[in-house]
């Protein structure tokens, strides 16, 4: 299992894809060093388009390239890749149904010191709300590598949500990513946590704390946020006494809401707690400090899990 940032898994996957498929083209908005798309650019300069700091132009150029049969990966910091381009993505990508892969790195509070203008916490909400768009957030390097390849094979608009910090390897080479499928990372019996992205790692840390108190947790990695794995969520929620979600995103419109919608539709009634940013802008600080102050750390996850279990005993 490889410990590395998900953006590194993306950069490495692009290199593999570049060799396998001449239709793969990569665009960046002047941050290719940070997004890791630069590796592809170095090896396949004819298929790499650095559009400069012009995200709106970049995503529409990607849409045009897609209409000629190319498979464009339009890459940038999530804040600007998505924040500046909702209209362009809606009209030229989602509505036009062009085969563009949007790849946003540096998401969530995990970004840290650059502050709230660089901490994208609303991207899942709005990409989920777009017809034709699918949304994927892998948990580690290996899953990102596979998800990037899966999105190249998938025909249609997609958003791949990636992070800046290094994360622990959760999956090895035997793991098989599939769009729309969640995966049980650890099987328990009392409470189920549906987590996504960096929060899978954070939840694993929380589970170490909870084990000492004999609270048995099932951890599920939900890497496809849309279309979400309804069957798995219903099955596991029915089998556990309490349900939690964990995401580095605002609590409106993200994973918590997506899981909540499934539970409501299926009329599953259990204590349900969401670990997420509580509809506020954070501040500067390290990712770990922000997770602690804004309620996303392993300690918080463990505390909420503990209270949840206590409330039903």
């Amino acid at each position: 299992m490889k410990d590395a940032a998900t953006r590194d898994g993306y950069g490495d996957a692009l290199l593999e894809l570049g060799a396998d498929d001449a239709r793969i083209v990569v665009l960046d908005a002047g941050v290719s060093d940070s997004t890791r798309s630069k590796k592809f650019g170095g090896k396949y300069p004819d298929r790499f388009f650095n559009m400069g700091i012009a995200e709106a132009d970049m995503v529409c150029t990607a849409a045009g390239l897609a209409t000629t049969g190319k498979i464009p990966f339009a890459t940038g910091f999530a804040c600007f890749l998505l924040g500046r381009t909702m209209d362009q993505i809606l009209v030229s990508i989602a509505y036009s149904n062009t085969n563009v892969k949007l790849v946003g790195t540096h998401t969530g509070l995990a970004v840290g010191e650059d502050g709230p203008s660089a901490q994208m916490i609303v991207d899942v909400a709005y990409t989920r709300a777009m017809p034709n768009m699918i949304v994927v957030q892998p948990a580690d390097w290996e899953e990102t590598r596979q998800a990037t390849r899966a999105l190249a094979d998938y025909e249609g608009p997609a958003y791949l949500r990636l992070g800046r910090p290094k994360v622990k390897g959760i999956f090895d080479g035997s793991y098989k990513f599939a769009i729309g499928k969640g995966r049980v990372v650890k099987e328990g019996s009392d409470l189920v946590i549906f987590a996504s992205g960096i929060m899978v790692q954070e939840s694993l840390e929380a589970m170490k704390l909870l084990e000492r108190e004999n609270i048995s947790v099932t951890l599920v990695n939900i890497s496809t946020l849309k279309p979400i794995d309804r069957e798995l969520i219903i099955e596991l929620s029915t089998r556990h006494r309490a349900i939690m979600t964990a995401e580095d995103h605002n609590y409106i419109g993200g994973l918590g809401d997506a899981v909540g919608e499934v539970l409501l539709d299926a009329q599953i009634s259990r204590p349900f707690k969401r670990i997420a940013v509580r509809d506020q802008f954070a501040e500067t600080g390290t990712g770990a400090e922000l997770f602690e102050k804004y309620g996303l750390s392993a300690r918080h996850i463990a505390q909420v899990a503990r209270e949840s279990i206590k409330s039903i005993e």
């Binding site: 083209v25 400069g52 709106a56 529409c60 000629t68 362009q88 030229s92």
Partner: protein, 278 residues
């Protein structure tokens, strides 16, 4: 009859065809009870030359041919003239036009075009995106080693959008000489004359400073239109044709009138206009 059979370089024939297309556009706007006649009429001569003057390399019986030239109407509200052209060229039928702006339109003849309609390359409706999309097509075409060109019609009000100038810089960077922008410079936008809304001048200097191959013509002079479209590509610069046009061109009471940007004519105005377009 397909577009190739219709193709002619005879200027008088093309002018006649442009009038016929204006009548057709006005008819469907009248039938729909809504639409944009002003911007449809200013672009009519330019689009007639492209589609029926043998300029655009296209085949309505094979609208997805990878070697085709692309046409994008970035000022998507001029859909009235766009659908009239697509029907005349044979992408859709003239009968299809009855469903313009109507629910359950089989050919998806929405107020702004969408690729569900044969011949349409990308959705429009949000101004400022077409030049970037067209540039992406131009890059893809070059990667494939084809000679095809990409024509993008922009509104003059539309180029107030900052993204147009992002695309202008990008096409210069990548030396995308197969990208041809046409500014339908009709001097009138929805709110007011473009000059008052936000002046574009000096417009040629702007494009020159972005390192484009700049041409300026009378956008209703069919001979000038044909000549500029027949020019060989610049060896490395993208091309822009600033076409001076008149909003509502062809109908005296619509010409230059902001009021005719986005309204359908009454029965009386419709009949009066048809006579002038005869």
């Amino acid at each position: 009859m397909n577009a190739n059979q219709l193709a002619t370089t005879d200027r008088a024939e093309l002018k006649k065809l442009a009038l016929e297309l204006r009548r057709l556009a006005l008819k469907i706007i009248f039938q729909a009870g809504s639409g944009h006649p002003g911007g449809s009429f200013s672009a009519a001569d330019l689009m007639t030359a492209l589609f029926f003057g043998g300029i655009l390399n296209h085949d309505p019986s094979n609208p997805k041919a990878p070697t085709r030239d692309r046409f994008l109407l970035s000022k998507g509200h001029a859909s009235g003239i766009y659908y009239a052209v697509l029907a005349k060229a044979g992408y859709i039928s003239v009968a299809d036009l009855d469903s313009y702006r109507k629910i359950n339109s089989e050919r998806f003849l929405s107020g702004h075009a969408h690729p569900k309609t044969p011949g349409v390359e990308i959705a429009s409706g949000s101004l400022g995106q077409g030049l970037s999309v067209g540039h992406g097509m131009a890059l893809g075409i070059k990667l494939d080693g084809y000679d095809a060109k990409v024509y993008v019609i922009l509104g003059d009000g539309e180029i107030q959008e900052g993204q147009i100038w992002e695309a202008a810089m990008s096409a210069d960077k990548f030396k995308s000489n197969n990208l041809i922008a046409i500014v339908d410079y009709n001097k009138v936008a929805q709110d007011s004359v473009t000059k008052e809304l936000k002046d574009l001048e000096p417009l040629e200097d702007k494009w020159n400073s972005f390192n484009w191959d700049v041409h300026r013509i009378d956008g209703h002079d069919m001979d000038a239109i044909m000549k500029v479209f027949q020019l060989p590509l610049h060896p490395e610069k993208p091309r822009v044709i600033v076409a001076d046009t008149i909003k509502g061109k062809g109908v005296s009471f619509m010409e230059g009138e902001t009021a005719w940007h986005g309204v359908a004519p009454s029965v009386e105005d419709y009949e009066k206009a048809l006579k002038e377009l005869a």
